[in-house]
């Protein structure tokens, strides 16, 4: 029988120690063990992007990362980015541009969009599409999502929306 493995990691700035089964992926660990249910699970095989989180500052698929692989790492979830105010303008733009309908893909979209905006301060629509290409929106609200990201980029660089 497989044994639990002790892990220590940093989640949204707080130290977490836990014993996990090796088969538990990071998204289930965040949702089931830490009750951080903002990280959503859609396909569980890396296609839909709903489970996107930051691992050591870079976005990853939480369903394709085992919790044991996050040992010693720093994890940031949508709860962390939201509470710190880091993406308040992006969230407001999503609201204003009607870029969320059912909201299921939104946490992953916000994580991926913020990742892009940190790498490129003035991405064009093609670049935004490419960076969000790994995130599915089954309400098909893609144009509005791209509008919201573009608006946020303009706002951050002091350009007119």
């Amino acid at each position: 029988m497989t044994a639990h493995v002790p892990i220590s990691l940093d989640v949204n700035g707080e130290r977490v120690d836990a014993n996990v089964l090796p088969r538990v992926h990071l998204a289930d660990f965040l949702r089931e063990h830490l009750q951080l249910t903002g990280t959503h699970l859609g396909c569980e095989h890396g296609v839909c992007g709903a489970c996107t989180v930051r691992l050591n500052g870079e976005i990853v698929r939480a369903c394709l990362t085992l919790a044991v692989q996050a040992h010693g790492a720093s994890v940031e979830t949508i709860e962390g980015l939201s509470d710190s105010g880091e993406i308040a303008d992006l969230q407001a733009a999503f609201r204003d541009r009607n870029a969320l309908q059912c909201g299921f893909c939104t946490p992953g979209m916000l994580m991926a969009a913020q990742d892009l905006l940190k790498l490129h301060c003035a991405p064009d629509r093609e670049r935004i599409r490419e960076h969000l290409s790994g995130n599915y929106c089954r309400c098909t609200g893609y144009q509005a999502i791209i509008d919201a990201v573009e608006t946020t980029a303009r706002g951050r660089t002091g350009r007119k929306p």
Partner: protein
Amino acid sequence: MKASAFSYARAASVSNALELLVAHGDGAKLLAGGQSLLPAINLRLISPDLIVDIGGIAELGGIAVSGDVLVVGALTRHVDLLRSSEIAEHAPLLTEAIAHVAHPAIRNRGTLGGSLAHADPASELPACMLALKATMIVGSQNGERRIAAEDFFKGIYETALSAQELLIAVELPVRQNNAAPFFHEFARRHGDYAIAGLAAQAIVEAGVFADLRLAFFAVGDRPVLARAANKLIDVAITSAVMSEASAAFAAELDPPDDQQASASMRRHLATVLLARCASALLGRNDLDAGRPA
């Protein structure tokens, strides 16, 4: 779905990982970035008894130029390849190809060695290895052996690696000054697996191909070097020469039928890629049969 239960060992070194592979035989699976292995495990396509995590082994990382060879460690992530100035200078085909590999969140974890050892026939990097004449450096408890890329890929998810071996690094000859890359693929969504793709490298002298390596992917059970490329070397390229090469190429292909595309559609797309490649590398718009007038 959720993975079935497995045990987990974090390998401290290459020799430690090899010991674990020998001790556990076929029941053990190596975990690098996990971007191909974990989907397969979550879908329960495979259910290993033991996962050997090699992700923390420092000796498997790094990109270095040594003489006329570029050595790329197996744990080099896609994002590291994409950002590497050594790769951009000495193997620009890889820089172009990586932009088509999945999506940013997957490129942040997926590794070169993992992709090559997984050997998905629709993935980009195995084809690049053929086009670039790569040599795989493989370790086992008996020492190291070297395998040419052309002998490494054996079929769908099948390579020359045995269950007791581990891919350590890839050696690529540094680019000759005038060698030019070409990369293109057709996929339903940016970052999805290709329906048909081409990774190529050529040396063009005075408007003629002095060398041309065309590695196609997603058109067979492994990446394939087009033999028809020889028909384009050291000859003045006319539309008649192109048609003959294209027909010979279509005849040598045996593409699969699946839910993405029929065999005939794949064969057609592969010949379009051939024409676009010749057109782009020679700077000749007149050769591009696939471009709308």
